[in-house]
């Protein structure tokens, strides 16, 4: 469990006299709390409203997904990964499929790779929309939630048309995609892009220059790039702290090498920068999708792979840039049909470590904002 005092980059809780010396107030937030995004339990040590330290208690949603993998074949385990980060199920599937493909030494055909990019980036948009809505709701702005859900619906419709599922899509197969795109897929995606471009401006109009929003998020939950790296924090949180690190550029996977896009980077590493970075990321995602749709090659969507997968003995680590950060799969194969061990490096779990660092000295209300800005999904934290 997280021991708040074992951190290197955080000063220890000061031994000053607190709260009339009677006692420091210890408040238990969650696991049933509207702002902890699921079943996160946070034990807050407060001095009045000031946070002296906090401890995350996780595991309320633990389903043993990694253990389940040891009793499933590689193909059978594929749907399970959708249940980790359920708001970005497509990304999870992509990471897993690519990891196994790497283990098998095969590669998906180019058309499959393009479809993967399109769906993954759409999923990134959906995930960021959900984040924006809930984050704004936590800070007290109710309305963006409904706007983002309206627009997220369009993405889910595309998913539904493509593979029949909306949330836990299981869109990809090892070796490519199971389905060819449906008729009008490209049209739908282009339509969505045209529909969604003004919507991002709409969100920004509501929040970006709103004085209260700026006050609530500027200089809140500041974390330096150095601390981020020390804690293993990745994704938009890392980029908002000024570190230009995006796996899509750094270790290109799928077809990302072929697209032209920027990595938005923040400066201060505060909540407002994370907000701006994610908003910019949404625009970049749309750029990628447009390029991918325009350049969608013809060809098969499935590589030639054996019916029964028996990867050679060995181990592989493959990571992708999920909406929340680096999502890595470490797979150990003993040459049988079932993996010997699968270990997932979930971005939410690692990012959650930064909560304590970001909240020291802040107020209770900031803890809410910071939990929101970390964009954690408890399904992924607990697995």
């Amino acid at each position: 469990m997280n021991d708040p005092n074992a951190r290197t980059s955080v000063e220890p809780i000061p031994e000053e006299k607190t709260f009339l010396d009677a006692s420091e107030l210890v408040i238990n937030m969650g696991p049933q709390h509207p702002a902890t995004h699921g079943v996160l339990r946070v034990i807050l040590k407060l001095d009045g409203e000031k946070v002296l330290g906090l401890e995350c208690v996780i595991g309320y949603l633990h389903r043993g997904i990694e253990k389940i993998a040891e009793n499933r074949t590689y193909t059978m385990f594929n749907p399970y990964v959708d249940r980790m980060d359920y708001v970005a199920a497509v990304s999870n599937g992509l990471g897993y499929c690519e990891a196994v493909e790497k283990l098998l030494n095969t590669e998906a055909p180019p058309r499959a790779k393009y479809i993967r990019v399109i769906l993954t980036e759409l999923n990134r948009l959906a995930s960021h929309q959900l984040w924006l809505g809930t984050h704004a709701l936590d800070i007290g702005a109710m309305t963006p939630l409904f706007y983002t859900f309206r627009d997220r619906e369009e993405i889910l419709k595309i998913f539904e048309k493509y593979c029949g599922a909306r949330l836990t899509t299981h869109a990809f197969r090892i070796g490519g995609c199971q389905y060819e795109t449906y008729d009008g897929f490209e049209h739908d995606v282009r339509n969505f892009l045209d529909f969604f471009t003004p919507k991002i401006d709409e969100y920004e109009e509501l929040l970006t220059t709103n004085r209260i929003w700026v006050r609530r998020t500027k200089n809140v939950g500041v974390i330096s790039g150095k601390d981020c790296i020390a804690l293993g924090v990745t994704g938009p949180v890392l980029r908002a702290s000024g570190v230009k690190w995006d796996l899509r550029k750094a270790q290109p996977y799928a077809a990302y090498k072929e697209f032209d896009f920027d990595i938005p980077v923040g400066e201060n590493g505060d909540t407002y920068d994370r907000y701006l970075v994610r908003m910019a990321e949404m625009r970049q995602s749309m750029r990628i999708i447009r390029q991918a749709v325009d350049g969608l090659p013809d060809g098969p969507v499935m590589a030639k792979i054996p019916k029964v997968l028996k990867p050679p003995v060995g181990e592989i680590y493959h990571s992708i840039e999920a909406p929340k950060g680096e999502l890595g799969y470490f797979i150990v194969s003993d040459g049988s049909t079932q993996p010997y061990r699968i270990r997932v490096r979930p971005p939410s779990f690692v990012n959650l470590q930064a909560l304590d660092v970001m909240c020291r000295g802040a107020l209770v209300a900031d803890v809410i904002a910071v939990i929101g800005t970390l964009d954690i999904v408890l399904g992924e934290v607990d697995r």
Binding site: K17, L20, D21, A22
Partner: protein, 101 residues
Amino acid sequence: MLPITTLHFLVVAAALFVLGVIGVLTRRNVVIVLMSIELILNAVNLNLVAFSRIWGLHGQVFAIFVITDAAAEAAVGLGILIAFFRNKETVNIDEVDLLKW
């Protein structure tokens, strides 16, 4: 019933004053002692306003000054109380026996 005269108000004020004095002299909790002092001040105020019915508005003006005074007294008194509580973890007036801490 008798018409209400000034004396009626004075009797009520006297009763409140006595209650306040009892509170100050017998309670151990500093907060309640402070509240008893407020009772005493209010008894005085009632007297002043009752007399102002006879002698003009000066009594009411004085009552306002007394209320101001009570506000100042409450603020400082409670401030002292908090400082005291922080050091001794008690609000008993019996234990206020240090000249310096």
